[in-house]
Amino acid sequence: MDLPTFFQQLVNALSLGSLYALIAIGYTMVYGILRLINFAHGDVFMLGAYFAFYAITALLMPWWIGFIVALSLTALFGIALERVAYRPLRDSPRLSVMISAIGASFLIENLGIVIFGGRPKSFPSIPLFDTVVRFGPVSMLSVSLFIPVITIGSLIALTLIVNHTKTGLAMRAVSTDVDAARLMAVDVNKIVAFTFGVGSLLAGLGGIMWTMKYPQLNPLMGIMPGLKCFIAAVIGGIGNIGGAVLGGFLLGIIEILIVAFLPALTGYRDAFAFVLLIVVLLVKPTGLLGKSQTVKV
């Protein structure tokens, strides 16, 4: 493979990896706080894209206002989802909550088909993101350059929130010991809502970026990215934000490498994510950056 092709694939890999990372963060944050896999997270991703689509095409908002509105709606949707589908089951066995999550996922997908229609829609072109950029022989859509920047920016912002704010401190407390956090007068419901809000906002951001990169929307578009980002979060060590980003990048890069170097196996690119999951779980069950929990008595 020549150098330009290498760089071309590298850019593809980085932008896909950043998208995965952005979505994986939401899985890992929610898991970190509630020990819950939010199976509807991929569908929240889909909703983010649709909200932006309708804001721009139906409500004729300028794209950036449309994005802000869509992201706010997605965050609110995530908070409402937790309120309706998960909070009533907070003290129930974990299996009940998981079933509720899967149910919520199916519900959103099928409501999506009813409300948005099953036929794919194409996302409007936004010149800032839709320009072809060339660096010598390497060319890409400008959105592919924005995606890694947005992911890294989100990661930095999130790290600052978690490590340097009072809310972040409470988040870390809730994630280690909910009852002890309650004894510190932490409003656990508020922290959980905040976590869902931020996670869903990032998923919405991912959804919007995704539809600009692969400019089609359909109500089931969240399923595969959702599953893969769940895998990315597990590979990185679920509950660990840095791990989710690492897992996302790893998955994106490996996927693109397969397509680039082993074109014959392209059809297996999705299957590969699951193979990787199995291998990581066999070798390091806590994920790459996960720590096994030790209890001191």
Partner: protein, 236 residues
């Protein structure tokens, strides 16, 4: 004054607390003693609503606490330092203390309380930036008490502060309990170490399988034949 009337708690089919009544007057040290499973921890957890009560009422200075959220109970000055210390192992000593002060907005007061707990526990100051999980058991207990003090308790409830600690540390913890009390904080102490608890307490209650079977001033209970036989390991 904390006043508990007819408090009952069920865990599934188990009737863990079977209608207990007791009072903690302001400025006093009151202790609940009893064997494992007598319902001591359950009582404290019920007061801060970490377990649901089946019946009974809890009043704090005339205000009904029953049914309030834990965070709101803590904000009224009823603070629990839980059994097993429950410090946040992955957070630093400093962050644990900051969580103790989570509900407070008076920066000046928080800063001066921090100085105060560092005077009480100089060891914690040395370990400020260390993860709580790396502290020894005794240091973790100090942190648990210090963290509770940061919540500015009017009544500090301590669940088994001596559990699993070396005798010297136990003595130190009980000295601190006295000191905290002298500074004006009411203390409700739950202990299996009946002797140490009754020695510091103004008043004590003996719990047995969810009922209060005996009560009296600490010194009286210490001298009581039944208490000596059951909890202080003396043959009659």
């Amino acid at each position: 004054m904390l006043s508990v009337q007819n408090l009952s708690v069920h865990y599934g089919g188990i009737h863990a607390l079977q209608g207990i009544d007791f009072e903690v007057p302001d400025g006093k040290i009151v202790t609940l003693i009893g064997a494992n499973g007598a319902g001591k921890s359950t009582t404290l957890k019920a007061i801060v609503n970490l377990v649901k009560t089946t019946s009974g009422t809890i009043h704090w200075n005339g205000e009904l606490l029953t049914g309030k959220l834990t965070k709101d109970i803590v904000r009224t000055g009823v603070v629990l330092s839980p059994e097993g210390r429950r410090v946040f192992p992955n957070l630093t000593v400093d962050e644990n203390l900051a969580l103790g002060a989570y509900s407070r907005n008076d920066k000046v007061g928080v800063a001066s309380d921090r100085e105060r707990v560092f005077v009480l526990f100089p060891r914690l100051k040395e370990r400020m930036k260390q993860k709580a999980g790396t502290l020894s058991g005794g240091e973790q207990q100090m942190l648990a008490v210090a963290r509770a003090l940061m919540s500015k308790p009017k009544i500090l409830m301590m669940d088994e502060p001596s559990l699993g600690l070396a005798p010297l540390i136990v003595k130190m913890i009980f000295d601190i309990v006295r000191e905290i009390n002298k500074a004006g904080t009411t203390v409700l102490l739950v202990e299996q170490n009946a002797k140490a608890a009754l020695e510091v307490a103004d008043f004590g209650y003996v719990l047995e399988t969810g009922r209060i079977i005996l009560s009296g001033p600490g010194k009286t209970l210490l001298a009581d034949q039944r208490v000596r036989a059951a909890y202080l390991g003396e043959a009659i």
